[in-house]
């Protein structure tokens, strides 16, 4: 990150908060079957897809009263008729888009040897880099819209297989109106030679972003996938409701890393993104899914990346750092459902709360009767800075057999004055001292991120903290 960004963040500014003026086609506010048909039509989707969207929409409408309110969150209820469900720029090759991503530090045209990036701007995927190299290995990496047309067989088989439209309120809504996102398929025995990445940007003011991502890794394959997000500064709250599905077939490996930095709202808690996300993966025999997330943005986050350990000897991992400041609210955690024999899961969740924010861990570890000799280890650590923030832990542990082993460890600590003073005495400023202690606290998560991401995440945590001293 360059010096200017650092400087502006020091002044408690959200640096990605600029808006790009660009010609785009935005749908009128509100949701009805006409809008859904229009979305489907604009994307030239096959009929079965339109039907699926409508089915989800009617289901959502029928269950609209089941608005999820169980989370430890307080926010103004959304008015789903005041959101536009589609905004697509008219010209994908508009220079202003290239400039926007340049400004975000993710140049589209400059070659980066280690990552292939899919750029999503509002409702549309702009460009996917490095396709040629990937094609050589038979790897498919493109926008989900493209995949729905080109790879119908795979989509029909897997879309909604892990997170069905009737799963929850937002999965119904997402299936009905999702606009774009990434699709990835790794063939049998192929280890993806470069990291795959999607960068999501919300630009338009009244639009809700509904991303849909589907990653399939065939037998013996592996992939590392990264996801990044930002949005302009706005007075009103915006909705981001994503669904991510991972399918890890026999002996395969998926590593899914997220750095979520949506606009978190201002100092008084005004504005910001509502981030309601359903992320889930299914593990077949001997496969492994690792979720790694760094959550620093959004005014409200509701997110539980989960694993269904269906196959014997499969492994699920979840590692998370969430940093909340000002009036941010984060309700996050993981679900590990053990079905196969000898399955094992790991949950490490680290929450850092500052100012008036609220940081919650919510988790489910369920070991089914069939999951003999399974293991889970859960560790939840919370760090409080200041005395107006709060932290909560809601672990739910269910074991239905006698041969499995479950461990849960949990700590809550405050940054101690003694630690700060010690660092001060060595000439380290208070802000820097906090950053050192927090980076130590997050050490075993950050080090699991892919290198480029790790540096960014570390910077992000350091900078975010500089403003929360006091």
């Amino acid at each position: 990150m360059n010096k200017n960004i650092k400087k502006s963040l020091k002044k408690n500014k959200y640096n990605y908060g600029f808006y790009t003026k660009i010609k785009s086609k935005t749908f009128p506010l509100g949701l009805n079957s006409k809008i859904i048909k229009r979305i489907s039509k604009i994307k030239n989707e096959p009929e079965w897809m339109t039907t699926l969207r409508l089915k989800s929409y009617y289901y959502w409408k029928k269950n609209k009263k089941k608005y999820p309110e169980w989370a430890n969150l307080q926010y103004k209820k959304l008015n789903f008729n005041k959101i536009s469900y589609f905004s697509g720029i008219k010209n994908k090759k508009d220079k202003r888009i290239i400039k926007t991503f340049d400004k975000l530090g993710l140049p589209i045209n400059k070659r980066n040897n280690t990552v292939s990036i899919d750029y999503v701007f509002d409702s549309i995927s702009i460009n996917t880099t490095y396709n040629k190299i990937l094609k050589k290995h038979g790897i498919i990496f493109c926008s989900i819209s493209e995949a729905i047309i080109k790879y119908q067989k795979l989509i029909k088989k897997y879309l909604g297989s892990v997170v069905p439209y009737y799963d929850n309120f937002y999965s119904s809504l997402n299936t009905a109106v999702f606009s774009d996102g990434s699709f990835c398929y790794i063939p049998k025995g192929i280890k993806c030679p470069i990291d795959l990445s999607t960068y999501f940007r919300i630009n338009n003011g009244k639009i809700g972003q509904f991303e849909r991502t589907l990653i399939i890794v065939d037998e013996g394959g592996s992939v590392s996938y990264l996801e990044g997000c930002t949005a302009p500064i706005r007075q009103n709250n915006q909705l981001h409701a994503a669904v991510v599905e991972l399918i890890a077939l026999k002996n395969s490996k998926i590593k899914y890393s997220t750095v979520q930095n949506w606009y978190p709202g201002d100092k008084n808690g005004k504005g910001g993104i509502y981030n309601f996300v359903t992320k889930r993966g299914i593990c077949k025999k001997k496969s492994k899914i690792s979720w790694i997330q760094v959550e620093t943005g959004s005014s409200v986050t509701w997110k539980y990346p989960s694993c269904i350990l269906e196959g014997d000897n499969s492994i699920g991992e979840f590692r998370s750092i969430s940093l909340s400041k000002n009036y941010q609210q984060i309700d996050t955690g993981s679900k590990m459902i053990h079905i196969g024999k000898n399955t094992s899961s790991l949950i490490i969740s680290k929450g850092i709360s500052t100012n008036y924010s609220k940081n919650t861990y919510r988790g489910l570890v369920k070991i089914c009767k069939s999951a003999k000799n399974s293991k889970n280890y859960t560790q939840c650590d919370s760090l409080l800075i200041g005395n107006k923030c709060s932290t909560y832990t809601y672990p739910n542990i269910i074991s239905m057999n006698k041969t499995s082993k479950i461990e849960h460890e949990s700590t809550i600590s405050k940054i101690e004055e003694e630690q700060i003073f010690y660092c001060n005495q060595r000439g380290i400023s208070k802000e820097k001292a906090m950053a050192i202690i927090v980076s130590g606290f997050s050490y075993n998560i950050i080090t699991k991120l892919p290198l480029e991401f790790a540096l960014e995440a570390k910077e992000l945590l350091n900078i975010e903290l500089e403003n929360s001293v006091g």
Binding site: E416, E417, E418, Q419, F421, Y422, C423, N424, Q425, R426, G427, I428, S429, K430, K432, I436, I437, S439, G440, F441, S442, Y443, N444
Partner: protein, 241 residues
């Protein structure tokens, strides 16, 4: 170098330092002694600017500059170093990483050399800061940081407590060597152990009791403490008044 004038200081509205005066010249070694709870460590915290302590009255002057209004990191940067009685631990941060934060231009080779002098295993530099260290290892780490920071004024708070005799000897050998190379550097040793005299000869010895220095003298005062204990000296002082 350091001058404390009519100092009154309190914590949570309780007065703990009362009319304390102390003057330490360039290159001098002073020993501050006193019974438990007399205010020895407190004084070291006040000099180094620990935020919990409020200065009600008086001045602390270091190199002709009033420092009692400065933040602790600025005081440190002026060249005051405190070796803590109970150094803290930091999880997830290696020793070497911490050293990079206290001094930007840190040469790995040089640190390796210092480790060798202090008899610290090089591998320890990649362990997390003081985590799982023994008492002796923690104190060695303090002195290592002292050598990295090259201070003008050093406070050693109970450096000798809980260490084996070989380590104490080694640490004082290194400290004395440092003073020899930096003849202007002054040293304030806080202890309640009269054995200290075996390792270093002070210019002045002070007895602190109930938040003020009640008796000062040369090294001979230590022998008197050893012979009679603090309380007879304190009592005598009271009677003299």
């Amino acid at each position: 170098m350091l001058k404390i004038k009519n100092l009154y200081s309190s914590i949570n509205n309780t007065l703990i330092i009362k009319n304390l005066n102390l003057k330490i010249n360039n290159g001098e070694i002073h020993i501050l002694m006193g019974p438990n709870g007399s205010g020895k460590s407190t004084l070291s915290y006040i000099i180094t600017g620990k935020p919990k302590y409020k200065i009600n009255k008086g001045k602390i002057i270091f190199c002709k500059k009033i420092i009692n209004t400065l933040s602790p990191d600025k005081i440190s940067k002026l060249g005051i170093f405190l070796s803590f009685q109970n150094p803290i631990e930091i999880d997830g941060i290696t020793m070497f990483n911490f050293f990079k934060n206290i001094k930007k231009k840190n040469n790995l080779k040089k640190i390796y050399k210092l480790c060798k002098i202090l008899n610290i295993d090089k591998k320890d530099l990649y362990r997390f800061f003081n985590l799982g260290f023994s008492g002796g290892e923690k104190k060695k780490n303090e002195i290592l940081q002292m050598l990295i920071l090259k201070p003008k004024f050093i406070i050693l708070d109970e450096i000798d407590s809980g260490l084996d005799i070989d380590t104490i000897k080694l640490l004082f050998k290194i400290i004395k060597h440092y003073l020899k190379n930096n003849p202007k550097c002054s040293l304030l040793i806080i202890t309640h152990n009269t054995n200290i005299i075996k390792y270093i000869i002070p210019n002045r010895v002070h007895i602190i009791y109930n938040g003020s220095i009640i008796l000062s003298g040369n090294s001979e005062l230590i022998y008197r403490i050893e012979k009679n204990g603090y309380y007879s000296l304190i009592k005598k002082k009271h009677n003299d008044k």
